[in-house]
Amino acid sequence: MKLPRRDFIKRSSGAATALLALPSLSGVQPVAMKAAEAKPEPPYRTSWYPFTEHQDADTCWSLSVGPDGRIYAAACAESVPGGVVQVVRYNEQRDALDYLFSLGEMVDDPGDSGRATQCKIHYSFAPSMSDGVLYMATHLSGPPIDQPAYSPWLSWHDPKRCFRGSALLAFDTRTDEVLWWETMIPKEGCRCLLHDEERHRLYALSYPRDHFIIFDTRTRTRRDLGRIGSINAQTLFLDRKHRVWTTDDYGHLVRYDPERDRLERSPFVLPHDPEFQTGWHSVFYDVAAPPEGDCVYAVTWIAAPRLMRIWPDEGDWPRVEDLGPATQKRDPTIPKDTFVDHCGGLVFGGDGQLYFVASRWRDPVHNPMKDKPHQREGVVWRLDPATLKRQEVAVLEHPTQPAQYVSRGAVDHQGDLYFGNVGTRPVGVFKVHMPAERKKPNAHLPIRMWG
């Protein structure tokens, strides 16, 4: 049966509510309720869950809410020779992470193969609400076990070294079983993944060739529509018309319209800093849709990231609102470090507000941070879609180091926020305990369909 997407999501919400009666979740008390019974805790308190049981883990690129309303994260090992990603899930009862499986084992591509490894899942969790499946696709960059680094260009023609390909895996969150896997993109990694459940299609961007890939989940066949650029946008998003959107190297919107079966490029460039940016590298880093689903909020992947709101259905090409810089002022003569000047983790909370994490760093002119122990930090911001006003609500508290780089954010079925951390080891997951008045059941619905 063909369903309009919004209707589908409403029905999915009901289905997901039923899913919450999963055996493993029944009887689980919301964290905030526990806290309320004990003693009042400060709002937006943060908890830290390092990847202690995966010693090689050095990054957390993917973090998403699953179709079951629970939080899944990728404990990636991209800088370790032979490193392999493990999938973890936040366990509410234990208040800890469960380590589900290693991708290397599941897709028969172990870390000691001599090839580039199945080292990470990079913005490539995508839920399937009708059957409780969480799709995930692997990415490359982790070196072979006997090499210190890996270049996909250098080893493209080397059968012993070349990455076997992005493995697409279907994980049943109801039974905790891997249903099947396929090599979705030979020799390349999957930068980001999106699921159009009604059309039975997964969309992906490959790396390093930046090709736009369509994977049919019924026939398990792949189409390669072509190359977009060199940089690789970090997100795809879906609109009500089932069009898939991303960006090219020069800050233009790129969309795939299934009705026309074409990749199209916008005639304009997305908002960017007018002083020192040109639109080059203003590719999407993260995109989140509000519950209403009529627009999306996006941030770009370049130092001095730009926030914007995009209305895909207004006009031939969308109306785009420039919401300004996501991070602080800086010296424009320095090409600021991408890992220092960063914004990610866009997620809508149960209160209908946009939350995201933007870095803040010590700058002698623009931000002395005299009272701060670290040179930099990750700040959780709340943006009111009605007024577009931003308010700082928390700083991510890592026990040993700054935590200014957040990859992805998600809200779980109880309404708490989670953020993936990239930095110096140990890396892991932050939980931001939302105030009770800003939580609601099934806060993750309508669910985000892209990684």
Partner: protein, 319 residues
């Protein structure tokens, strides 16, 4: 009285080719030349125009360029164009300086000579590592620079890095000095007058105008002294330290260079060729230059030619 010029016939069969030659022949048609804004395009702003006169350049063995500017303020910068790079990174301005006259690259550090109202100073800094990936994501930091202070009260005229001694060798208006990059020690080596730009020469020497300076383990030693005024005629084995006009007529009878034994000349058809080596016998390591090349060479291009052959990748940085 010149003959009257004919108006060019735009319909001539050669017109298209000639237009292309005029327009495109201006630029390089072989090899590679890099023209690049003084920034990371799209991620930073260029050095301001009135602070962006590039007046000093050097290059490391792996092809990373260091430079300095002059103008309202003096900037130091590093530029890299190989691999996954493509950036000119502004290392910042030097307080109290408005002129950078020289920069030299050592094994792990560079040293820049800057001038300001207070005289000449030497600034050092660590060599910049490669940024991660300038297509995908990059990491830069502006490393601290170390001000070694004034050489003396005179402005610095020029300097070069001298690899065998791991020192910067430079001149002020009346003195020659060295600077040990590791220890940061600046030492006046002696008086010298009438100096211009200097360059690396043969036998690991440094040429200062008409003077060749050789280096022992600890201190420079001048060769060919003539009661305080140096004369290239007194420099045995001098190979590359003569001025352009002298080179232009190396086989002549009157120019002083005629007495410099290291120049070997011979006639080939209608042009003279010079073979230059440490002695009168041409060295296979060094290339021969035609007379036309010699005529076109300014004084400091000579040592540059040697540097090109002796240390690949360092051409064009000394002149």
């Amino acid at each position: 009285m010149s003959a009257k010029k004919q108006k060019y016939d735009m319909n001539s069969p050669e017109a298209r080719a000639l237009i292309d030659e005029i327009v495109h022949g201006t630029f390089m048609k072989e090899g590679t030349m890099v023209a690049f804004p003084t920034c990371f395009p799209g991620a930073s702003v260029p050095i301001t125009a009135d602070e962006g006169h590039i007046t000093a350049l050097d290059i490391t063995g792996d092809g990373i360029v260091y430079g300095g500017t002059s103008g309202r303020a003096a900037h130091l910068f590093v530029a890299m164009f190989h691999g996954v790079t493509g950036v000119v990174f502004d290392l910042g301005t030097i307080e109290g300086a408005d002129q950078c006259v020289a920069i030299g690259c050592g094994g792990s550090q560079f040293a820049a000579c800057v001038n300001g109202p207070g005289g000449g100073r030497v600034i050092t800094g660590g060599l910049q590592g490669l940024p991660f990936d300038l297509i995908q994501e990059w990491g830069f930091s502006r490393p601290p620079l170390k001000d070694l202070g004034k050489v003396n009260d005179e402005p610095i005229v020029h300097a070069v890095f001298h690899p065998p001694s791991a020192r910067l060798v430079g001149t002020t208006t009346n003195h020659i000095f060295t600077c040990d990059l590791e220890s940061g020690t600046i030492r006046i080596a002696g008086e010298i007058s009438g100096t211009g730009r200097i360059a690396l020469g043969s036998k690991e020497s440094v040429s200062v105008g008409m003077v060749r300076v050789t280096f022992g383990v600890t201190a420079p030693r001048r060769v060919g002294s003539n009661a305080g005024r140096f004369d290239c005629r007194k420099v045995p084995g001098n190979t590359c330290h003569c001025t352009g006009p002298e080179i232009a007529n190396p086989a002549g009878s009157t120019p002083p260079t005629a007495r410099v034994r290291s120049f070997h000349s011979r006639k080939t058809s209608d042009s003279a060729r010079l073979s230059v080596g440490p002695n009168s016998r041409p060295s296979g390591r060094w290339r021969s230059l035609s007379m036309d090349e010699c005529l076109a060479s300014a004084v400091m291009k000579w040592p540059r030619c040697f540097a090109t052959n002796r240390r690949p990748g360092r051409s064009g940085t000394l002149g």
